[in-house]
Structure formats: structure tokens, C-alpha cells
């Protein structure tokens, strides 16, 4: 299985390349990608340097153009596709059918990967994108169980890529407007979820409060560790109980599932975290490279090394791990 690592800037591209990624993915500095955060992503010059650096070391480069072109300003997305073709990017990650059509017609040599933002959770959908636009790989939303992934992979020629580690969307990616409902900014329309500009931290006698566009997402007592107020990870009141009503703040970590994923023919493991720093990219890439090699060598006797878990644990959101939907304790 191949390793696909994130990069939010040129140093991270170098770090991922050096630490053993097979692919590095990043976005351009605008709303054409789903990590449209201030100070993040690469401009055209940095992207060119990134391609040069990675290609010199036989690492492939992906450009995420994975938001939905809006009714006005759609040219920006087309320009991003043209840029990818000009820079010799190995594949673009797309969610929008109109944009896939543009890429397939204008740049027939450009390889297309189906973004997780396209919400393709079944093989009929994935095969649809293959027939219409020739996608060669699909990244699956983090809502399927391991068994469902196996079933899906058996019914398509499209390569399957799954998330292995990092932040966790509990909703089907591409079908979540919680952030839009509260802030007016969402992944589909603006490339950002629960945007930093809407966040307010307020110390109060009852504890530290995190708010998003005025909405109280969570309140922490002194001994609780505060987390970023992503809407799906807040504590709310439902029928008389206050709890993490949607999901606890925890990171996805699927190291222990590697043999199963390999057996099912999963082509690649994706690491989330383009918004994270160089140290994160280096550490996570290194651990996963080691794990993937161990699994490829001897899947029967593969075990998760303690020092891998230690290293990853320090990098996790809330320092907790979960297998997410892959294993369904709640099922």
C-alpha cells in the first residue's frame, strides 16, 4: 500500500518526501481546496519547487482542487487545473463533476483522483465517475466499515484510498453543512469548516468557553483540556443530558487495521493534516512508512509497535485515538 502524506507548505512537502511518503498532497492558496486557511498552502512558485523536489526523489505530487466551484468565480478552479497540468502534477484530487469534465477534456493526460469531498460511499458512485471522467483512484469518506470497504473494492477497478490517521470527520465528507449553518462558511462553499475567524475564547466564572459565531460549542473546567471548537465535537444538551452529542474529540488511527486493508486490496493510506506543522508531517509519515513496510513484509505477524503508538499519540487531537467507522463499536 502506498502512503499519501499532507503538506501545507513547501517545508512540509520536503519533510514528507524525506520521511518516506509515496505521494504528497497540497492545495493552492485560495478557496479551490478544502484547507483554505490563512497562511497555509502553496503559491504557484512554491508548488513548482515542490514538484521539482519530490520528483527528483521519485515521490509523486497531488494537487487538491477539492472544493466545489461556486456559481460565480468558477474560473479560479479551472485555473487551478491548468496550473496542475503545467507544473507536471501527477494527479489532481477533485470533487466536482463539472470540474472533472473540464480536466478530462482540456488535459486528457492529467490523472484524476476522486476526492473524499465527492461523498462516494458505494461502488455505483465510484464506477460512475470512472465511466464519465476516467478517475483512477477514489478516496473514501470516513463512514464505511472495513467490511464495507472490502465489498466496495471488490466491485470496482478504481484504486481505493482510505484515511489512516488524523482529524476525523464523523459526517460524510461533502455532505456536511453544519459549519455553513452556524458561520456561513463551509467546506463545500469556502474550503473551511468552523473557521478560525468565527472562534472566540471567553474565560467565565463557569469555565473557559469556546464559541463559534456566538454559539456556545463547549465550556471547560480548569482541569479539562480545551479543544478547537469544531461544531461536531462540541458538548450539547440533548434530552436532559450534556455530552459530546456527535463525537468525542479524537484522532483517527487505523494502524491495527493495516493487514485487513491490505488484504482487501486498498491501494493507498492517506494521512490527514495539511494544516499541521512540519514536525507532524515528518513524525506521522515516518511511523506510517515503517508500519506499511512491516505489514507488506509479513501481514500475518504484523503487530502495532508501542513506539509507533507513542509517537502518534503525542500528535493526536485530544490525544485520544479511535478507529472511527472502520470498526463500529456503536454498531
Amino acid at each position: 500500500m502506498q502512503l499519501v502524506s499532507p503538506a501545507g507548505n513547501l517545508p512540509s512537502v520536503r519533510a514528507a518526501t524525506d520521511a518516506g511518503a509515496d505521494w504528497v498532497y497540497f492545495g493552492l492558496r485560495d478557496d479551490t481546496n478544502a484547507r483554505n486557511f490563512a497562511g497555509l498552502n502553496l503559491d504557484a512558485a512554491a508548488a513548482e519547487a515542490a514538484v521539482r523536489y519530490a520528483h527528483a526523489r521519485r515521490v509523486k505530487v497531488l494537487l487538491a482542487v477539492n472544493t466545489y466551484p461556486q456559481a460565480t468565480g468558477a474560473d479560479r478552479w479551472k485555473r487551478a487545473i491548468d496550473t496542475a497540468a503545467e507544473l507536471g502534477i501527477d494527479a489532481v484530487i477533485l470533487a466536482d463533476p463539472g470540474l472533472m469534465q473540464y480536466a478530462a477534456e482540456k488535459h486528457p493526460g492529467l490523472t484524476l483522483h476522486l476526492s473524499v469531498q465527492a461523498s462516494a460511499t458505494n461502488y455505483e458512485a465510484i464506477n460512475f465517475y470512472r465511466e464519465r471522467f476516467g478517475i483512477t483512484r477514489a478516496i473514501l469518506p470516513r463512514v464505511l466499515s472495513v467490511a464495507q470497504i472490502g465489498q466496495l473494492a471488490a466491485h470496482t477497478q478504481v484504486e481505493i484510498e482510505v484515511f489512516g490517521f488524523g482529524g476525523l470527520c464523523v459526517m460524510v465528507e461533502g455532505r456536511c453543512a453544519l459549519s455553513g449553518y452556524v458561520t456561513g462558511v463551509s467546506p463545500n462553499t469556502c474550503g473551511a469548516c468552523s473557521p478560525g475567524s468565527a472562534v472566540r475564547w471567553q474565560p467565565t466564572p463557569a469555565g473557559l468557553e469556546s464559541r463559534l459565531n456566538g454559539i456556545l460549542v463547549d465550556r471547560y473546567t480548569d482541569h479539562e483540556k480545551a479543544a478547537y471548537p469544531t461544531l461536531c465535537k462540541g458538548r450539547y444538551d440533548v434530552a436532559g443530558q450534556t455530552y459530546y452529542a456527535i463525537e468525542e474529540p479524537a484522532s483517527l488511527n487505523t494502524l491495527e487495521l493495516l493487514p485487513a486493508l491490505q488484504r482487501m486490496g486498498v491501494a493507498a493510506i492517506k494521512i490527514e493534516g495539511r494544516q499541521r506543522n512540519v514536525a507532524y508531517v515528518t513524525q506521522v509519515t515516518r511511523v506510517w512508512r515503517e508500519a506499511l513496510e512491516a505489514c507488506a513484509r509479513d501481514p500475518e505477524r504484523f503487530t502495532v509497535a508501542l513506539d509507533w503508538m507513542d509517537a502518534l499519540g503525542k500528535l493526536s487531537e485530544g490525544q485520544q485515538h479511535t478507529l472511527g467507522a472502520y470498526s463500529r463499536p456503536w454498531k
Binding site: L99, A120, N122, E131, A177, T189, A245, A325, P329
Partner: protein, 300 residues
């Protein structure tokens, strides 16, 4: 403008559903969307039951559309999908690209809101595959629709949700079961206890979301009645109402009156506000946060 009733998003007992559609048959509604779009475990009505409801409604002059499930994960979900697609009689609303694959080139279909059609190229693409109507994503604003509608292929209708709670997200996880510490596979169908969904409030008692099993909806009801003149000007063809347990048909009647007698919009809107009870929202239409209630549509 035509008036449509979206599928019932909640899990109601069989008799409630049948009684509801019995009344719908007599209501001033042109198009009725039917079927379970949220959770494959819900089985109060089976495919055959839905087809019977469809026949009754078609018999009373309604255009019937069968809606497909939004999140399709398993082989069994796909079997259900194929049955709907192959129904042989009614138009299908595709709520996943898997459904579009099965419908493409075979028969006219409705392109649902969860297909994420945000731009004219994508809309034209589904039109070439046979879409005869499309529903914009929940977040789309009037400014975007004003830009898109004039560019639409001839004959492609636009349908807009003008009333009801807004489906905001879908997950594999059931949040209703989670609240009651039940596993999804043994959920005891607790969502049936909440015919209008399970309210999710902030710790300041501010209504935020509504849990409907694997679907998360807005807490507030979206009400665009105040924007009707603008909606008409934009060129929307069909107005959709998302059913709630109470007042859905009176709401439909008010929208019907508002369409037919635009001069009476003020008092009609006032009546609708009264039926809605709590504050409504219209932020997405105005290009703002969806939960907001902005004038003139807010509380004019």
C-alpha cells in the same frame, strides 16, 4: 410556480404515514416525493407500501417522485436503490451519484440537493444524463441562483426548499441511538419517539441542531415565504416543503395562497409565522449563516 412536498424525513408509525398521505391526496400540492431517504433500518413501510401510496396520490392527480436514500453504504442499500430505479412508473429523485449512474440515459430523473450541484457545468452535466429538475444544495444563496438559473438548459426545472427543517449532514453513526447509549444495530428504533426529531441545544439552551437518526438537521425551521417575490423573479419553478408532524398541510395551503395571490403575501406570511411558532431561519438564502433570520424575510 408549483408546490412540492419533500419526503417525510422522520420515522413515523405506519398508520401515521398512511394517514398523512391520505390527507396529502386532498391538499393543494402538485408534486409529492416519497420514500425513506435517511435510514435503511426503518421499515414501517416497505417498497410495495410506498408504491401503493404512490398510486393513490397519482390517482388524485399528484406528480409522484420516488426519492432514494442519501447515504448508500451496503449491498442491501444498493438493492433497495435498484428497486426504486426500476420501479417502471414514477420519476426518481437521485440523492447519490450511485443513483445517477443507474438512471443516466434511461429515464428522466430529479437531481437531489445532496448531489452538490454548485455550478452551471455540473448542472448541465446531470441534465445531459437526463435530469429534468434539480434541487440546489442547502447552502446555495439567492445571488448564486440568480446567476445560475438564466444559464440552465431549456426544460430543466429548479426546485427550492422554502419551508421546513434543513438536512445539514449525514453520518454512518446514529446520533439518536447514541443519545440513549444504544448501538446502531440494536437501536430499538428510538427515532420513532421523536416525530419531529430530537432537539440539540447548546449549554445555554439555544436550539442548535435536530437529530434525526443518522441525519443532522437545523434546529430552526427555514421559512422563505417573505422572499417569495424574489424567488419568483429568480425563476424558481417548484417550491418544496419539508414535512413536519404538525401543520404541514396548513403550511402548504398558505404557500398555495401566497403563490396565487401575491397581493396578500403580508397577512399570509403572518399566518405562517404564527404556525411556525419559534423563530425561523433564512440565512442561506441571503448568503449568510444558515441559522440566521434576516430581514426582509426574517420577521418583517
Amino acid at each position: 410556480m408549483k408546490l412540492a412536498l419533500g419526503p417525510v424525513l422522520y420515522y413515523w408509525p405506519r398508520e401515521t404515514v398512511l394517514g398523512f398521505y391520505h390527507s396529502v391526496a386532498l391538499a393543494p400540492i402538485d408534486i409529492v416525493y416519497l420514500g425513506e431517504t435517511v435510514c435503511s433500518k426503518r421499515h414501517e413501510l416497505r417498497f410495495g407500501d410506498w408504491m401503493e401510496v404512490a398510486e393513490t396520490l397519482a390517482g388524485s392527480g399528484k406528480e409522484v417522485v420516488l426519492s432514494t436514500q442519501t447515504l448508500i453504504e451496503s449491498e442491501s442499500d444498493l438493492r433497495t436503490l435498484r428497486r426504486i430505479v426500476d420501479n417502471g412508473r414514477y420519476t426518481v429523485e437521485a440523492n447519490d451519484m450511485g443513483a445517477v449512474r443507474l438512471l443516466a440515459g434511461r429515464t428522466a430523473f430529479v437531481a437531489g440537493a445532496s448531489l452538490n450541484l454548485y455550478n452551471i457545468e455540473s448542472i448541465r452535466f446531470v441534465a445531459t444524463l437526463g435530469a429534468s429538475r434539480w434541487i440546489p444544495p442547502v447552502e446555495m444563496s439567492s445571488a448564486q441562483l440568480t446567476n445560475l438559473v438564466p444559464q440552465l438548459p431549456a426544460g430543466l426545472e429548479t426546485e427550492l426548499v422554502v419551508y421546513g427543517r434543513l438536512p445539514l449532514a449525514h453520518s454512518a453513526r446514529c446520533f439518536t441511538a447514541r443519545r440513549f447509549n444504544l448501538q446502531k444495530d440494536a437501536c430499538e428504533f428510538r427515532c420513532m419517539d421523536f416525530p419531529d426529531g430530537l432537539p440539540v441545544n447548546t449549554r445555554e439552551d439555544n436550539p442548535l441542531f435536530t437529530f434525526n437518526g443518522v441525519q443532522t438537521q437545523s434546529a430552526r425551521v427555514c421559512n422563505l415565504v417573505h422572499a417569495l417575490p424574489e424567488i419568483k423573479k429568480v425563476g424558481i419553478d417548484v417550491l418544496r416543503i419539508n414535512p413536519l408532524r404538525a401543520h404541514t398541510l396548513p403550511v402548504a395551503e398558505l404557500f398555495r395562497r401566497a403563490i396565487e395571490r401575491p397581493a396578500e403575501l403580508g397577512p399570509i406570511a403572518h399566518e405562517l409565522d404564527a404556525l411556525t411558532g419559534g423563530p425561523a431561519c433564512n440565512g442561506f438564502w441571503h448568503g449568510a449563516a444558515g441559522m440566521q433570520a434576516l430581514s426582509p424575510a426574517g420577521s418583517a
